[in-house]
C-alpha cells in the first residue's frame, strides 16, 4: 500500500495537487482526451473478430450468387459450352478456391441464422415464440430445401 503522510484532497491549493504544467490548460475549461480507434480494433475482442468475419464472408455469398447466374448463362449456350465450363471447374486451383468459398458460405449462413431471433419477434396464440424455435425453423427450412434439391438431383 502506498504510505503517505497525508492524502491529497483534490483541492488546487493542496501541496500534493499536480501542478498545472500543461501550458494549454485553462482552469474550468475541459480539455478532453480522445482515444482513437486503432486500425486493428477488431482484434481487441473475439466477438469483434467474429463480426468482421461475418461481414467479410458476405463476399463469398455474393460470389456464389454471381457464379450461379454465370452457370445458367453458360447452360443457355448449349451442352458443349457447359462441358468446357465443367472441365475448367475441375482444375485443382478452382476446386481449392471453391472449397474456401464453401467454408465462408457456411460460416456466414450459420452465424446469420443464429442471429435471426433478435430481429424476429413472433407471437403465436398470444405467447412469444422462443428464440431456439425461430433458429430451429430456419435450419429446418435450410435442410428441407437442400433435401428437396438433392432428391431432384438423385432422381435424374
Amino acid at each position: 500500500m502506498k504510505s503517505q503522510a497525508r492524502i491529497p484532497t483534490g483541492r488546487i491549493s493542496d501541496p500534493g495537487y499536480p501542478q498545472a504544467s500543461n501550458p494549454e490548460y485553462t482552469r474550468h475549461h475541459p480539455r478532453w482526451y480522445r482515444r482513437h480507434m486503432p486500425i486493428f480494433w477488431w482484434l481487441r475482442k473475439f466477438a469483434y473478430t467474429k463480426f468482421i468475419l461475418r461481414e467479410l464472408t458476405s463476399q463469398p455469398v455474393m460470389y456464389a450468387t454471381l457464379f450461379l447466374l454465370g452457370k445458367v448463362w453458360v447452360l443457355s449456350r448449349g451442352p458443349e459450352a457447359y462441358e468446357i465450363f465443367v472441365q475448367w471447374l475441375s482444375h485443382p486451383a478452382f476446386l481449392a478456391f471453391h472449397a474456401l468459398v464453401l467454408v465462408g458460405l457456411l460460416f456466414h449462413t450459420v452465424t446469420w441464422l443464429n442471429l435471426t431471433p433478435k430481429a424476429l419477434v413472433l407471437r403465436v396464440a398470444g405467447r412469444k415464440v422462443p428464440g431456439w424455435a425461430i433458429v430451429g425453423a430456419h435450419y429446418g427450412a435450410w435442410l428441407g430445401l437442400s433435401g428437396v434439391i438433392l432428391w431432384i438431383l438423385a432422381g435424374r
Binding site: 499536480p18 498545472a20 442471429l115 433478435k118
Partner: protein, 247 residues
Amino acid sequence: MPDTVKLEVFRYRPEGEGEPLYETFEVPYRDEWMVLDALNQIKDHQDGTLSYRWACRMGVCGSCGMTVNGEPVLTCATYLEPFLPGPIRVEPLHGFPVIRDLVGDLEDFVGKLQRVKPWIIREEERSPSEGEYLQTPEEMDAYKRYSMCINCMLCYAACPIYELEPGFIGPAAIALAQRYNLDSRDEGARERHEVLAEHEGVWSCTFVGECSIVCPKDVDPAGAIQRYKVDATLDFFRSLVTPGRSP
C-alpha cells in the same frame, strides 16, 4: 486468497501531463469487494485526486460504468475475485472523450436521447378528469424490457460502430425510442421515425451484437434495433402499395 491486489488505473490530468498514463495502486483484497470498493479505498486512503463517478452502488443509477480488463462493466457489480491474481486494469468507457481520469463526457448521448423523444406523445391529450390510460399486462409486456434501461452507457462503450461513426444514435437511445413506440398509449412513432430511419439511426448498425451482451439490465438493444429495421422495411413496402401513405 491474497492480502492485496494491484489495480492499474487510467489517469488523465488535463492540467498535468496532458497525456494519460497508468498508475498502479495496491489495495487490500476482500472476497466481497467489488472493483468500485477498491477504487473507493484508493480515493479514501491513497489518492484523493482520483476522479470517477458512482452513486447507488447497487446497479441502479448507471453511473459507475468503466472498462475493467477490456470489458465495459458496472464497477459496483463486478467482483475483484475473478481477476485474481491481478493486476486489474481500470479505464474509462471506450467511445467517450475523457474529461479526467475515469470520467467520460456523456453529453453526446444526452443530446441523442432527446432527439428520439423518449416520452409519451399523444395526438390529443386527455384531460385528467377523463381518467387514466389503461393498459393490459400483455400491452405492458411489449415494451417493459426496454424500459429497464439505466443509461449506463455500457452498450455504447461496447459498440465499435459508435466509436467509428460518432453520429450513430446508438443502442440505448434506439431501445428507448422503441420503449415508447411499442407502448399502447403512445402515438409518436411517426415523429421518432424521422430520427430512427435516417442513415445515422438504425441503418448505421451492422449488428455486432455486443451491446446486448454487456447490458446489465438485459434490455437487448441489438434486438430493438433489428426489429426496427424489419418494421421500417415493411413500412416502406406497404407505403409503395398503399397510395397516400408516407413511409
